[in-house]
Symmetry: D5
Subunit: 139 residues, 10 copies
């Protein structure tokens, strides 16, 4: 642990956040996301929900002002599910001045994008359609 | 994640708990415990408190009925600190029929014992004197 | 070993089952399946039959309700072999509410699918056409 | 799998048995033996009992005629436990012409000896005091 | 060494033979075969001829009854070389009831096939055109 | 790079600072310190002076209030060298409320202590007798 | 450190510069360059600006006289940013007799070129559009 | 060192020469060849010229009588450079009865061929256009 | 394979022989020697007898003229076994001008010496008391 | 290769020289020195004599002015050998202002010291008693 850094961020995760550069993407997967199958670099934060992690990361990590910077997995038109967690994410993201609202990717397109991301965080989030990608900006 | 297993237990931790045998010891360190310096095998559960982890582990892990099975770090006589978290640990440990009460080790003796343990879990527990060692029994 | 978890599941296998996410596939190969040649991650359970392993896994592992979730290797029309072990598999799979019956893949298509699976378990199963793929659902 | 070799022996185990030389020792631990903590080389045969493994090994592996060759963990005088599995072991060992009966080591001396053994096999044996060490002879 | 297993088979080779499954291929190269350049898994048996190795392997390893199972490198029409070692191979292969005679591959096609084989054995065989591929069957 | 964290701290160093616990020690060596020879974990910050590194670290890293927490390499009585950089270190350390002044170790005792430290940072500091050890406290 | 070699060059970087041959390319990225994502070999020089690094390297490293040898990332026509650091680079590069002026690559083409470079240096340079590629010549 | 083997051949190089088979290629690069960038296996012989190395290798290594066996990098028509070292190479190669004279590859085609070679030797040869590829024959 | 080097010597073994220096020791173990248990570096030459290996090695490897250079395992006085292979070894060793006759070590002292040797060769030699240590001299 | 650095120094060696600090020792062994057996870090410069290497190193590497800085292996009183290479070493070392003449260690004491050195360079030097240790000073 260090002074002023959230204890939810593991040493390995902080190292990865620092290594990332402009345009690199980070995936925060929910508890059912196939993170280990797709990750180039995998960070596990078992037992935590996504909102606390997202909030701790965005204290340190700027969103990319030149591109779409928050990407969500799309709910198929045929699926009547509600996704109240999205509203929570939106409130957290709004703390970053460059947040431009959500962009959506269909499930398998989202997986392909996740494979190319710099890292994927596996969480214990129990909400569904709760995966999120954030694109890093310039510090 | 799996059915019926707490999502706070990481895949690596569950593997380690299964590998352990009769008499092996497991350390759960608080957020300031020098876990990375002393661990033969290190599992990080950053951002979590010890009680939730202890409770999840003891669902699966029997205490050793042939020996002292819960070891705590001793508070020096000169330190007036209160340790209310010990009462929480006691309640959790009492679920195991072989729990025999706490045994105490002086700080540096505790470190030496931790070095020989099968594994150490690093947590984000903010209480002090909150380190605990549990000795595995026969399944 | 742990309380309440079948001792047929190795620590490494339990770790892998936990790491898998929604849509990932697991192959359980019979004793002649070329598991080591094709596996991205290989787990050996030499000397065991498939039914016991399948049963132990499905205690913990949900089938995918959004897709075909149990895939078998097809018997060619020209092969008069009987496959009574399929009936055993069916009974075990029926314990999962999302089981939808078997889907079949021709031998070499099955191999290609196995190469992409998250893991392959090598067993000592002596029955033939006894390979099976199970697709993981949402916990 | 190969013709004429028991399918309970994993490829890794067969490799280890071949590598061993005169005087090297092999431990077969029961399901509660702290195999992973002590092994220089660890082979897991989860879910199997010791007798089937011992029998398959002794088909290929000669006992050492120049020294004590079967070592068991001693039951303390104060423990009234019965160990019927020992009789099973004896019948299997008697197939080797150089078997000389059992020699016993106290629990912690047995652990020290296990640490120096060439390899330890972890099993799912549920009987207690069921650990056994066999010393390899000349082929 | 083990009882009843030829001492020409190294521990690593025996492990590999056991790991192979139905349809996997094994190359035994002569002393000039570029084994190290092409092998996914390389086993060296320097100083030995191919016939002794082939004979020892076929004691344990069944040929594939569903496919061409012994593949040789073709001699170009323009090369007047004699290959008496082929007759030796034929006699050894005839011990397997599923041997169907030789199939030939042109030199560079043979190399491509060798690259995909499960393993290649490098020998000290001094005969030329003495490379051979054997395809594993069902035990 | 991240918001609010000095860009002089490498990702690897930040990870190491987070991993350290109460009582662990960190060495910052000058440009001639034999860091690579003695380090359990080595971090290189070539071309930087010690003061900037020390200052950046102490923004995040608390000194140990229970023990001597800043250790310097002693100048032998026979060496008339001046060490003005110590005054710079003192000013930086005074920002931490638990700083207790310097403690000195003779050169070879300092090396022995460095060998046991959690990590050593190699710098390009050109001042002499400019090595420093800081002991981590409780966050 | 060594006599006559700038202390800003790390041992790893000097090794890499020596290993490079005629036509190999080296990227020096600014603090926001996604160096870790794209590098075949990554060297971190956190906290340093590019000019000092470039100057130290060009003392030892000749530019390629047969090809474009200094490549910069292009500023889009729509971006009114000033890049005064380019003038600094030009002055440093002019010390090499084979410097031919800058060549520009569009941002994503620059990334593709960086992926194929022999190595990428990550720096703490805070200027923007400050990435530079230098192609090695004949010593 | 060994009796009768040139001390210029490193243990690693001799191992590689032995592992190579019929048709494998070996590159000996001059001091500016980008050996580390292209080599599947890299052997460094810093500070030596190519002729001594070539001569020591050809004492042990036969050229391929079935194919072009000595390949040089072509000098562009526009380059008036002299290459007296080629005559030295020719004299050394003539000791092998299967040498057929030089074959030339254009610079970038030579690089592509070098990437596929079994190994590349990096030397300190200061002559230019001094790279050479030798193809191994049958012993 | 290479010209003039026995094909019984594997590439790895030749590398090891070259790496050894004055005073280093090499063990050639018989088929029952516990080579894998004791070797710092292990070379397997399964299926070969010791005399052919010893002869091939001594073509290249000088014995140490300053010390005892051929060490055998002693036969206990109580063992009436004959060791005709020793005479074979003696004839081979006599080709080296510095051979001084055999020196003997008791079995367990021989094992201790083998542990410190530079390398151990595992063979398929079926004669007993056929282990031998040779000490390298100056080339 | 780089401008102004001797091509006899390999990239790995230069890296090691840079990493070394005040008081670290470097061994340059002759062609019969058991370098691979004793080295913590081994650098091979096969085929080169010691004087050229020593000279190239001392261009960059200062001797330690606080301690004995050039250590040679002692010739036993009973050995009438001449060591003219020592005079060559002396001339090279005299270029360093802190050279204090040679210090001698008996053969096995020299080996013990070499084991603790930061690195050992293996050369092809054919002179005897030609091993040398140099202790690094302050840059």
């Amino acid at each position: 642990m260090l002074k002023g850094i959230s204890s939810i961020l593991s040493p390995e995760l902080l190292k990865i956040l620092m290594e990332m550069g402009h345009g690199d993407e980070l995936v925060i997967g929910d508890g059912n996301f196939p993170a280990a199958a797709y990750a180039r670099r995998l960070v596990r934060l078992d037992g935590h929900g996504v909102p606390q992690i997202l909030e701790a990361i965005l204290q340190l990590y700027p969103l990319d002002k030149y591109a779409d910077n928050v990407i969500m997995m799309e709910v198929p038109a045929t699926d009547p599910v509600e996704t109240p967690i999205w509203e929570t994410y939106r409130k957290i993201a709004l703390e970053d001045p460059h947040f431009k609202g959500f962009v959506f990717e269909e499930r398998f397109a989202f997986y392909e994008r996740a494979k190319k991301a710099y890292a994927i965080i596996a969480t214990g989030e129990s909400a569904i359609y709760a995966n999120i990608i954030i694109k890093k900006g310039v510090v």
